[in-house]
Subunit: 200 residues, 2 copies
Amino acid sequence: MRSPPLPYHSPRNGDATPPHHHHHHHRQYQSTVSVQKLRRFNWLILVLRLAAFCFSLASSIFSATNSRGPSAPHWYDFEALRYLFAANAMVALYSLLETAASVWEILKNATLFPETFQLWFDFSHDQVFAYILMSAESAGTALARTLKGSATCAASSAFCIQSDIAIALGFAGFLFLAFSSLLSGFRVVCFLISGSRFPH
Amino acid sequence: MRSPPLPYHSPRNGDATPPHHHHHHHRQYQSTVSVQKLRRFNWLILVLRLAAFCFSLASSIFSATNSRGPSAPHWYDFEALRYLFAANAMVALYSLLETAASVWEILKNATLFPETFQLWFDFSHDQVFAYILMSAESAGTALARTLKGSATCAASSAFCIQSDIAIALGFAGFLFLAFSSLLSGFRVVCFLISGSRFPH
């Protein structure tokens, strides 16, 4: 992760320029490096957002379609499965918005909202949603393991299998969200320290 | 959180020193500010570590003593309560070690282990343990809510109440751990960007 510090007097073409131009040249060089890094960083965030969106959407679809006829168990009869669906649907919606914001940032080279707001918004929501998603998946897992030995799974094993799939997809979504929360945290601290989304 | 940027030529006593001393003086001034900030930061971390330790220890004690006679339910018969105990005990042990490391850092003004290792160790473990603790508390909550209507709680309501207390204490521990993971994340990014645990 850690890039080597740029030497103050880096030998470049035009090293013979007068001393009072050095600083300017150096800045230009640095900002070019920053822009490249920022671009790669933004692409990584976009990919993570998109992955989190896909997995949490798939999980919420698997959750919400988990009903097997009028006599069989329904997902909305179980508190933990309702929580699982709500958390995944929320994260899917949030990730979609963040994907859009990320695409905007790549295209326009600026954040969708004012930078300070956008960075803090991203970071805080990533953190909170990552914990909520982890919580929902764990609650779902605890329920699924309790159901395993019960009459519900004996009567309709497809119901339990579909719950398991929804939980597994949600965990995958969590991983991507947790990783993007690390990156957005990095951006916030960069901004706090150096006043920019990316270190110079 | 954001401190105003220090002016490069800050007017101080000895402003009449020759130009080649400016940079040195500036650094000294900055490092004094940093040391004060670092001290306050370290005290905050110490308090958070201690609080996380107390709550997770209390939670694991409440979990582990939740057995009511030979015929009544035992905590170790329930997977989620075993997970709850294990996660809280782990976090209590980890927080104790981190508290010791934090005290060391305040007394000696240096990290216990080499700085890079210490910062990454703290941050990664904070992150992982915070997610694990959230997961364990949620699994415990899901079980507790399933038990609520069952014969277990009807037979021994004290068992269910004690589980609830253990879970609530664990959630409090989680909050402190999650907050210290934010601070240790801040320290890591500071270190990555400026090569120091705290911004100059």
